[in-house]
Amino acid sequence: MDIDPLVLARIQFATNISFHILFPAISIGLGWLLLFFRVRYTQTGDKAWEYAYYFWVKIFALTFAMGVVSGITMSFQFGTNWPGFMEKAGNVAGPLLGYEVLSAFFLEASFLGIMLFGKDRVSNRMHLISTFLVAFGTTLSAFWILSLNSWMQTPTGYYLEDGVVMVESWWEVIFNPSFPYRFFHMVIASVLTSAFLVAGVSAWRALKNVDGPATWKIMRTGVMVAAVLAPLQIFIGDLHGLNTLEHQPAKVAAMEAIWETEEGAPFTVVALPDEESRSNKFALEIPYAASLVLTHELKGEVKGLNEFVGEHPPVAIVFWSFRVMLAIGGLMVLVAWWAAWALRSGRQASKPVLAALSAMTFSGWVAVLAGWYVTEIGRQPWIVDGVLKVQDVVADHSAATVSGTLFGYILLYLFLLASYIGALRNLSAKPAASLILNPAGTASANTGDNTAKGGES
C-alpha cells in the first residue's frame, strides 16, 4: 500500500496533539478549581473543602504528568515532522514557544513540586501561593501557545524576506486578530471540561455511595461553574465564529458546507458534503439561519467553497466536527442547568440527574477535540494561513519510518489513555478521607491504600 508521507506525518502529528490536548484541557481549568477548594478550606476550615482539594490534587498531578510528557513530544515533533515550518516561520514560532518555556513551563513544574509535596515543609501561605502559581502557569502556557496557534490562523505583524517570515511588530504578532477569541474560548473550554469532570466523578461517587457530604459539595461546585460557563462559551464561540468569517472565510464555508456564495444562506443541520460533485447529498436546512448566525443579518452574504477551489479544507470532517462540538455544547447547557436546578439550595439530586452528570464526565474532551479539529483541519492546506502550505514544510521521512513510529505512538497512547481512566476509576472508588495523610506520613484512615511511606502527592 502506498500512503503519502505527508498524510502520515499529518496523522502522526494529529495523533500526538489530540492525545496531548486532553490533559491541558483538564489541568488548566482544574488548577483554578483546586485553588478555589484550597482557598475555601483556608477560609472556612470545612473538612469537605480539604477533601475536595486532596482528592482532586491527585488527579491533577496525574493529569499534569500526562500533559508534560506528551507536551515534550510536541516540542520535538515541530522539528522532526515539520522542519520547513521552523525554517520559514521560526522567527515567530521560536520566540513564542521560548517565552512559553521560560515564563510558564519552569514556573508550573517547580511550584507543582511544592504544591504536591511541600504542604508540611512550607507555610500555609506559601502553599497557597504555590497552588496559585501552578494554575497561573498553566494559563500562561495556554496564552503563548494559543498566541502562536492564532498567528498561524490569522498572521499579522510580519513581512517576508526571501520566503522567510520576519517580524515587524511583536505586539501585532502576539495579539493577532483571532488570538483573544481563541484564548478565551480555550480557557473556558478547559474550565468547562474540568467542571464536568469534577461534577461527573462526584456524581458517580454519590451514586455508588463512596463518600459522604463532601462529594455533594464538590459536585455542586462543578455544576454551578458549568451552568454559568456553558452558555457563556456559546456566546464566545459565536464571536469567535464571526472573527473566523472575517479572516478565514474558507474555513467557515467548510464548517457550514456552503458551496456557492449566497445571500441569505440556510443553516445546514445535517448533510453529507461530497467533494467530488462539490455539493451536499441529503441536506436538512433551516432557511436564512447561516446568514443570520454568521452575519447577524437575514440577507447577509456568506462566501461559498467554490470561491476557494484548491485552497479550502476538506469539507466533511470540518462540517461534522463542528456539529459534534455544537451538539456537546448544547447538551452541556441542558445538563448543567438541569443539575443546577436539582441541586438548588442544598437539595440532593435524584438518580437520573446523577446518571446524566456522570455520563457527561468526559464530554469536555469530545467537545475540545471536535473544536480543535474544526480550527486546525479548517486551516488546511495552509500551515500559516495564506503564507505557508503544509506540503511545503514536511520532512522527507519514508512512509515506512513514519508509519512504524505512528503505530508505536498509537499503541502507547491507547495504553496510556486506558491507564489514565483506570487510575481515575481506581481513585474515585476511594473515600476522600483515606487519601489525606497526616504529617507523620501514614494514611489517616484505614483503607488498605498502599501508602507505605506517607507524605502526600
Binding site: 515541530f78 515543609r121 520576519m166 519510518t401
Partner: protein, 330 residues
C-alpha cells in the same frame, strides 16, 4: 550584535543541556536503579525525585527550544536526522513520566507493571540520549564508525546517569538503602570511567576537525587542564567510595559534586570541539541563526526570566533539602 548574539545563544543552549544532564541525569539514574531495590525502597527512591523531575525535564525542552529559537535552520536538520532516536527517547520519557503517578494510582495489582515501566522508560530515554549525542558529535553521518561511536555513548551516558543517581541517593537516603546505594555506586563508577575514557579517545579519531583543534600546538597545552581535572574528579570519586565512613558522616554529596564536575569539564571540551559549528561540517552558528529581531526579542525574555527560574529552582531544592524518607508519592 550579529556576531555575538549567536554565540550567546549557543552558550545558553549548552548551559541548558548541561543543567539537563546534571539534573535529569540523577533522576533517570535513580529510575534505572529501581530493579535493584525492594518495594519500600522503591517508594523512597521515587519520592526522593518526585518534587524535582518535572522541572529537571524542562531543561531539555529549553535546550531544544533555544535550538529552535536561535538556530531554526539547524533545528529542522538535527531533529529530522535524529528522528528515530528522538522518537524512542520520547516514548521512554513518556512511559517513565506517567509511571511516577500511575505506579501508585493505578491500583496495587498494577504497581509492579509501572515499576518496570519506570525502569524501562528511564533506561531507554538515557540510551537514546547518548545515541543522539554521538550522532550529533559525528556530524549526523550514518557510516559504520559514527554508528559505533553513537553506540559507545549510548552505553556511556546511562553509566554516567547511574553514577549521578547513586550520588543523589547518597544525599537523600539513610540506613540500609544508603548502604545499598554505596554498593551500586562502586559498580557504576567504573563503567562510567571506562566509557568516558573511550569516548575521549574516540572523539578525535572519528572527527578530523576535532582532532586538529585539540592536537595542535599550543592548544593542547591550554586544553590540558580539562582532561587532567576530569581525572582528578574521578580520583576523588574513587577515594570517596573507598571510605564508607566519610559517606555515613555526610560526605556523600561529594560523589554527586565530583560527577557534576566531570560533566562540566566534558561539556567544556565538547563546546570547544564544536564551536563555531552548530552542525559539524555543515553549518556554523551564524549560518543557522534566526533574524536579529527575533534573537533580540527573546534575549529580553531570557535575561528577565532565567535569573528568576534559577532563583526559584534553588528555593525548591532548599525546601526539600535533606533525607527523603518522609516524602512520598501516593
Amino acid at each position: 550584535m550579529e556576531y555575538w548574539l549567536p554565540i550567546i545563544y549557543m552558550a545558553a543552549m549548552g548551559l541548558s543541556l548541561l543543567i539537563y544532564v546534571i539534573l535529569d541525569g540523577y533522576d533517570l539514574g535513580v529510575g534505572m536503579l529501581m530493579p535493584l531495590a525492594n518495594d519500600a525502597e522503591k517508594d523512597i527512591m521515587v519520592a526522593s525525585i518526585g518534587p524535582f523531575w518535572d522541572a529537571n525535564e524542562t531543561w531539555i525542552v529549553l535546550g531544544v527550544g533555544i535550538l529552535l529559537i536561535a538556530f531554526p535552520m539547524a533545528h529542522g536538520i538535527v531533529l529530522t536526522e535524529l528522528y528515530l532516536p528522538v522518537t524512542i527517547m520520547l516514548m521512554g520519557l513518556i512511559l517513565r513520566g506517567v509511571a511516577f503517578d500511575l505506579r501508585v494510582k493505578a491500583g496495587d495489582h498494577r504497581k509492579a507493571l509501572w515499576n518496570r515501566a519506570f525502569f524501562l522508560g528511564s533506561l531507554v530515554a538515557s540510551m537514546a540520549q547518548g545515541w543522539m549525542l554521538g550522532a550529533y558529535v559525528t556530524g549526523l553521518q550514518s557510516n559504520t564508525t559514527s554508528l559505533l561511536f553513537s553506540a559507545l555513548i549510548a552505553l556511556t551516558l546511562p553509566a554516567l546517569y547511574l553514577t549521578l543517581g547513586c550520588g543523589w541517593l547518597l544525599m537523600k537516603t539513610e540506613g540500609e538503602l544508603l548502604t545499598k546505594a554505596i554498593g551500586w555506586a562502586r559498580k557504576s563508577v567504573w563503567p562510567m570511567g571506562l566509557g568516558l575514557l573511550l569516548v575521549s579517545i574516540a572523539t578525535p579519531l572519528v572527527s578530523d576537525a576535532i582532532a586538529e583543534k585539540w592536537f595542535s600546538w599550543p592548544n593542547f597545552l591550554i586544553l590540558a587542564p580539562i582532561p587532567v581535572l576530569s581525572l582528578a574528579a574521578f580520583a576523588a570519586i574513587v577515594a570517596l567510595l573507598n571510605s564508607d565512613n566519610s559517606i555515613y558522616r555526610g560526605h556523600g554529596w561529594k560523589l554527586y559534586a565530583s560527577t557534576v564536575a566531570i560533566c562540566v569539564f566534558a561539556s567544556l571540551g565538547l563546546g570547544y570541539s564544536l564551536f563555531p559549528n552548530i552542525i559539524i561540517g555543515q553549518m556554523t552558528i551564524w549560518d543557522a541563526a534566526a533574524s536579529l529581531s527575533s534573537l533580540k526579542f527573546t534575549l529580553v525574555g531570557v535575561a528577565i526570566t532565567l535569573p528568576i527560574i534559577i532563583g526559584y529552582t534553588i528555593f525548591v531544592y532548599r525546601i526539600f533539602h535533606g533525607k527523603a524518607t518522609h516524602l512520598s508519592y501516593d
